[in-house]
């Protein structure tokens, strides 16, 4: 027993050590002592409740500054009873282990600290709630749970004192039950407090799927991307997510500081207790814009107290929405053209557009072999990727075209699947076997080469060819016969060839969408149309 190890306690009664029996045998009425102590501590609770009831009187009126000042201490004080009361429960539990049973002696002291700070927290919390702006039911629950914590803690303290008496096994058990209940109540109360401060769902937002969470909460504040940004409703789809992300924590259903709610049309239209939240079409006159655009160190800046300010895109988006009339229905398409910063924001929240891939871009083609490309470049060709996101290449013989012959094209063969655009104009090429194997060719420049009718036969399998330029060659109507099956062909240049008007018309009959250019010049008379 502790008593035997600490003989020094004889000199004075340490307040929380077990009472040293002064004499042997029963003391008259000594069994009443614990109850007297319980009564004493219950008095604390009654005082607290009485205080709360007394404070009720000022609830309806505008609370005095002193009350609001005291209220601000709630967040600072509230963590003391949480820590102390949980620690008391932990000490009591740990003391069940024989080697740690000495810890039990600290339980009453820790409980007293917990009870006193709980009282302070309740009082300060009540003052804070008088400032308003919190959801009423949540505050009410939090308040009465807080009072209950204080009462339980006080009771626990009394029981712990009583349990120091020898043979007070039942007191000890009662004390344990109360401690357990207090700890549970602390957790529940704290959770309500957290909900008031951080908004509902804060705790479970990133709950892993394994533990029953949805698992799809967006990270890094990026909301779900908008599929079609043009038809998105500016308020509902763009502004509301910003408010929810940055403002609704304090200006929403659980907490509405300054009586302002930004979680929906009703609250925004109602404004705050200080005035309207915004003036439609007048962003400069709108309080919400003024607040979010202030530098973060300014007293009126929102969000307050060192929280990261809204980023430029978010601010400009809200400014743009208000400038455009603060409509709750308008879509992006119906709004005035946005500033660059807004456009940047829109592109940030828009799902990347997946353009319908057609023609060769719908095919799965391997990237070109680097060594083969290098060989083509060494041969003097210019090689460039056709687009940023496809394996296709544009190859130009321009730098070496003067000396280029058909046999020099062999170097292109290893990348024949990737060449989508080929310019061999003004070169000496004629036979086109290699080109005939370039299945994905869409653009082919053969103007002013030695190409003749029969060479075009090589092109008859190029099903993706859209553009063919053979002006300035000796091609004639007979050569066009080879092109009749080129369903994709849209542009054909035949100036300075032997092709006749009839030949061109005949091909156009087969390929109605084909535009054939046989040369152009000024007409003598100006063709006018009436408007």
């Amino acid at each position: 027993m502790l008593r035997k190890k600490e003989p020094g306690t004889k000199r004075g009664q340490a307040p929380f050590s077990e009472p040293t029996p002064t004499k042997k045998g029963p003391v008259p009425f000594s069994y009443l002592v614990p109850f007297a102590r319980i009564g004493l501590v219950l008095g604390f609770g009654i005082v607290g409740v009485a205080l709360a009831v007394a404070l009720r009187g000022i609830e309806t009126s505008d609370p005095p500054d002193l009350v609001l000042f005291l209220g601000r201490f709630h967040p600072a004080v509230v963590h003391l009873p949480i820590g102390a009361l949980l620690l008391a429960a932990l000490l009591e539990a740990a003391a069940c282990v024989r080697r740690l049973r000495d810890l039990r002696v600290a339980v009453p002291f820790v409980l007293l600290v917990g009870a006193v700070t709980a009282l302070l927290a309740v009082v300060a919390g009540y003052c804070l709630s008088l400032g308003g702006g919190y959801e009423v039911t949540l505050v009410s629950r939090h308040k009465w749970l807080g009072v209950a914590v204080f009462v339980l803690a006080s009771g626990g303290f009394a029981l712990a004192l009583a349990a120091r008496a020898p043979d007070s096994w039942r007191m000890r058990q009662a004390c344990r039950v109360v401690l357990l209940a207090t700890a549970g109540l602390v957790l529940v109360t704290a959770h309500y407090g957290g909900t008031l401060t951080h908004g509902p769902g804060y705790l479970t937002r990133y709950l892993p799927r394994l533990l029953g969470g949805a698992g799809d909460a967006p990270h890094n504040n990026v909301e779900g991307l908008i599929e079609d940004v043009d038809s998105a409703v500016v308020f509902q789809d763009l502004v509301v997510p910003v408010f929810e992300r940055r403002c609704v924590k304090c200006h929403g259903p659980s907490t509405s500081k300054g009586d302002l709610r930004l979680d929906g049309q009703a609250g925004i239209e109602k404004g705050s207790r200080h005035g309207p939240a915004l003036v439609a079409a007048q962003p400069g006159q709108s309080e919400v814009v003024r607040r979010i655009a202030l530098p973060p160190f300014h007293d009126d800046a929102m969000p307050p107290d060192g929280e990261a300010p809204l980023d430029v895109g978010e601010i400009e988006l809200i400014r743009w929405w208000i400038a455009g009339g603060a409509s709750f229905e308008a879509t992006v398409r119906e709004m005035q053209d946005p500033a660059t910063s807004v456009e940047t924001y829109l592109s940030r929240v828009a799902a990347p557009r997946q353009p319908q891939k057609t023609g060769i871009f719908a095919l799965q083609i391997a990237d070109p072999d680097g060594a083969a490309v290098a060989a083509v470049e060494r041969a003097g060709f210019l090689v460039r990727p056709l687009t940023p996101d496809a394996p296709y290449l544009e190859v130009t013989a321009l730098p070496v075209r003067a000396d280029l012959r058909a046999q020099d094209l062999a170097v292109l063969d290893p990348i024949r699947d990737q060449i989508a655009s080929l310019d061999l104009s003004l070169s000496g090429v004629d036979r086109l076997e290699v080109i005939g194997r370039m299945a994905h060719l869409t653009v082919l420049h053969l103007q002013r080469t030695r190409v003749v009718d029969d060479d075009l036969a090589y092109l008859s399998k190029l099903q993706y060819l859209e553009y063919l330029n053979i002006y300035g060659t000796n091609v004639s109507d007979a050569g066009l016969e080879h092109l009749r099956g080129l369903k994709s062909l849209r542009w054909l240049y035949l100036w300075q060839t032997d092709v006749s008007e009839e030949g061109a018309t005949g091909l156009k009959g087969r390929l109605p969408e084909l535009q054939i250019n046989l040369g152009s010049g000024f007409s003598e008379t100006i063709s006018e149309v009436s408007p």
Partner: protein, 484 residues
């Protein structure tokens, strides 16, 4: 990578110490191996780094977006052609001719020479008609341009920020009114390189006639803070295109090549020591000049152009006219020049605008349209962007018999290169004063041009004096409505 950061990377402390250690190690090894003959075969220095003359491939490779145009021919109407006598018909001004301009429109606005003067409306000096299947409205002063109405996209809502010629030119070319920024052509060659190894990627020619010819400063095609090799090269439109391009008497081609190669080796030694981008430029320019000794005479020799092509443009060739320049521009485009800019200085009509416009239009109209037609029949209009326009427009208010500078709304046209043909975009008010629909700022034009060339204007940047610069600075919206 830009040369500055390359230099920085080369000269890090780690690099320096590493190289020093290598040197000490080599000395130690040489001492050990002394007399064995092995040291003689070792060199502490690698082969000299290859620099310079490799064809510049551009920093935008692959392209940011799929390019629609490969080259640009910019017909730059210097002086500020009146939009009210070209592409922006204002019947209201006919009615208001001679009457005072409503003060509600001009009050507090910046004016150039009309500042503080009585403002009187001046009606269009030439009638407008609808042309082509598209029914585009064009002044009858431009009968040939009228014939390509279905090929051009007229933008009536251009806006600039500078009201005097030189800063307005600078703004139109570089996106900034202050000098020192790279011009559009320099940005393009820096971004995309040139297809031509024998001609510069950016060539400028000038012509004049039709009005007072305000000077054009060479810094309009300067490369600014980009390396000097991306600067525009001005060809002369009469006489030798490039001075001293012929070999001096008594010097053979081989001798010239030896000289150039020796100079190159010397420059490379200096380059290895200093890594100065301007030496790289110097090396590249020597090589380019040497190759131009062969390519330029071939370029300007119009003897292989048939007479009917010369007639189409309306020039006998090599006479310094805008028409001759247009023909040369087409030849340059065929040879892979990336950006060709033809200035015609003759549109500054403060007085006698009727006569001045007649003269200038006669010099420019036929050749501009001929260029578009010729490119079209060669199948080159699909990937060549032609732009026709000045640095600003002119006031609806009379300045005696002319018009003053006007920056709040003016017209240009674009053809080919992925621009939607046969449309008119944007609108000015009834006086042709203020843009009231679809404004296209110079920055927007730049963004659109770069986009057509496969470059996103926000991504082509160059770090200079501690920040990233771009042609559109912090502005610019791609005008998607005029893209085909």
């Amino acid at each position: 990578m830009d040369p500055q950061s390359r230099l920085k990377q080369r000269e890090t402390r780690r690099e320096f110490l590493g190289r020093s250690a290598q040197g000490i190690g080599t000395m130690a090894l040489a001492t050990l191996l002394h007399g064995t003959g092995l040291a003689a075969t070792m060199s502490s220095r690698g082969a000299p780094r290859r620099v310079g003359t490799d064809q510049w491939k551009g920093v935008v490779n692959p392209p940011h977006v799929r390019p629609r145009a490969k080259r640009i021919i910019y017909l730059y109407m210097a002086g500020g052609p009146s939009h009210l006598e070209t592409f922006d018909n204002k019947p209201k001004l006919v009615d208001m001719h001679g009457q005072p301009m409503p003060p509600s429109i001009t009050k507090g606005q910046q004016l150039a020479q009309l500042q503080g003067k009585a403002l009187e409306c001046m009606g269009p000096q030439f009638p407008f008609e609808h042309f082509g299947r598209s029914g585009q409205e064009i002044s009858t002063l431009f009968p040939h341009t009228a014939q390509i109405a279905d090929d051009v996209c007229i933008v009536r809502s251009m806006q600039t920020e500078q009201i005097n010629h030189d800063p307005a030119h600078t703004f139109m070319n570089t996106g900034s009114m202050t000098t020192g920024r790279p011009s559009m052509g320099s940005w393009l060659v820096y971004g995309l390189g040139s297809e031509s190894e024998d001609l510069p990627g950016f060539v400028v020619m000038t012509s004049e006639g039709g009005g007072q010819a305000q000077p054009i400063a060479a810094r309009q095609w300067h490369s600014g803070f980009l390396p000097g090799r991306f600067q525009g090269v001005k060809f002369q439109s009469a006489g030798d295109a490039v001075n001293y391009v012929d070999l001096p008497d008594g010097v053979s081609y081989e001798q010239q090549r030896d000289l150039i190669q020796t100079i190159r080796r010397l420059n490379e030694m200096k380059q290895n020591a200093t890594d100065d981008p301007e030496i790289e430029t110097r090396i590249a320019q020597y090589e380019m000049a040497f190759r131009m000794q062969a390519s330029v005479p071939e370029l300007v020799d119009l003897s292989d152009e048939p007479q009917y092509i010369k007639d189409l443009y309306g020039t006998a060739g090599a006479d310094g006219s805008f028409a001759a320049n247009c023909l040369l521009a087409r030849r340059m485009a065929e040879r892979g020049v990336r950006f060709i800019q033809l200035y015609h200085r003759g549109w500054d009509h403060h007085g006698d605008i009727k006569e001045g416009m007649e003269t200038a239009a006669a010099l420019v109209d036929r050749a501009s349209a001929a260029l578009v037609l010729d490119l079209k029949q060669r199948g080159m209009l699909d990937d060549t962007l032609v732009i026709w326009g000045g640095e600003f427009g002119r006031t609806p208010m009379a300045q005696g018999s002319g018009r003053d500078h006007h920056i709040k709304g003016f017209s240009i046209w674009l053809a080919g290169g992925g621009v939607r043909p046969g449309i008119t975009y944007g609108r000015t008010d009834d006086f042709g004063y203020e843009v009231v629909e679809n404004p296209v700022h110079v920055h927007d034009l730049h963004a659109t041009i770069l986009s057509l060339m496969g470059i996103h204007h926000e991504k082509l940047t160059y770090r200079h004096q501690g920040r990233d610069f771009r042609l559109t600075d912090v502005h610019g919206k791609i005008v998607r409505d005029i893209l085909a």
